[in-house]
Amino acid sequence: MHGWGRRPPAVRSAHRRGTPGRTVSRVVAVEPVGSPGGDCGSADVAALIPLVRRIVASRVPDPATADDLVQETLTRVLAAAGRVEPGMLEPYAIVTARNVVTSMWRDQDRQRRHQHRVVDLRPPEAPDEDVLAREDRAAVAEALTRLSDRERSTLLAHEVSGQDTRALAAELGSTAGAVAAQLNRTRARLRVEYLLVSERVEPPTERCRPVLLAISGGDRRRQREVDAARHLLECDLCARLSEPLVGRGRSRDDAVRVAVRTDADVVAARQAAREVATRLGFSTTEVTLIATAVSEITRNIVRFAESGEVVVAELQEPRKGISIVARDAGPGIADVEQALQDGYSTYQGLGLGLPGARRLMDEFAVVSEIDRGTTVTMTKWRGET
């Protein structure tokens, strides 16, 4: 634009002769500061300021950054002023300005490329974190006091003092396996007590604690014994508290649970059943039969009970099959035998719900108790293939 484009070759030769490096420090080290040419150099450099500013501004849009780069350029030019031939200071400044801008771009680029390395993945510390941690510690401490002395001392010996189960077994006159099992039970109890303490609630019924314990321990047999699934439908507190417990206890993902409240959940339930059945290798016809049966019994939950759940599980023994349990805590069916007959309907349905579903499945059982709810369990086995 200003005809400088022609000059760089000369500048380059000047570089070759005098200043090899670009870095200020090296130049300064070579060139003592109080050199005779210094004074006249600074005046010349001051005259170059508008020029340098123009060059930098045309390349760098951000005024603050541009200002920094102008300063940097001037510093370098000033440091080199003594060595540059008279008359060559201007081209030298131009090249320096360009170099400074380029190296800034390069730095930015490098930074961008390496940015992922410095990302801090830890979540920022929330202001209430400290308080929460303190409450947490208090809750754990409180929960620990609710354990029996023996449970507590064993747990602490294992978890805090780091004693292994064999050493503990020798101490307690027991076996390592028994100690490990006991530790598991203690941990399950601690989780339950911790949740109760941190929610500041006492379980409303006698059944709550055993149910929560069975869930916390992940013990399916015990869960069946205390009829945990039904209790969770009846007891809001336990339903809420059990969520984190269920999450950690579930080691196998062969069971799908669908909460049922509205019409849309009927579709969700039958699609869940469809997925599981397809995974098990049922034919598309069988899958449709299963989905239809699930649709029928799930609709009954929506119709007659406020809420319930459908659990679809894979069966591997004695052969592959699918098990569907639909459970609600609704009013119950007064006469199950009658409800299983074709054409019996309490709303304007076809009266096909239960009897139809029974025809579609291999095994079918209805357990109902007035005011306690209804559980429909049905199974379809895969063909012999």
Binding site: Q271, R274, T285, T288, L289, L352
Partner: protein, 129 residues
């Protein structure tokens, strides 16, 4: 309950309505489908309706009853209803379930369905001349 996007479309084709269900519908959506369709039969003065249920994953007792009701209501409104696109698996399940599919006319696909309507509908207007 009746909010949200329509999961079915009702299109006019001459004197007929072609109602397509696009995905698995739940009960309230089926009821909405029924209401919309019966209304459109009046407003469009349709003489026949083809209902395409190919996208329904199951035709359980409620869906079957709804379709049967639609057929009955349409008849009372002066239109013939043909159900098309019942998948073989779905048909099997309906029979196993013990569904009484009633007097609703069915056809294999849309083409057959329209032909079926033609045979039902073109005849009656003739005597008027």
């Amino acid at each position: 309950m009746n909010g949200g996007p329509r999961l079915f479309s009702i299109l006019r084709q001459g004197p007929y309505l072609i109602a397509s269900i696009h995905t698995a519908l739940d009960d309230s959506q089926l009821v909405r489908f029924q209401q919309d369709l019966v209304e459109r039969i009046g407003s469009d003065r349709a003489r026949g309706v083809v209902i395409d249920v190919a996208a329904l994953d199951v035709l359980d007792s409620f869906a079957s009853r709804t379709l049967r009701d639609i057929g009955e209501m349409a008849r009372l409104r002066g239109a013939v209803t043909v159900i098309v696109g019942i998948q073989p698996d779905v048909a099997f399940a309906m029979v196993e379930l013990g569904m009484d599919t009633g007097r609703v006319v069915t056809a294999l696909d849309l083409e057959e369905g329209l032909a079926e309507l033609d045979s039902h509908v073109t005849a009656p207007p003739a005597p008027r001349t």
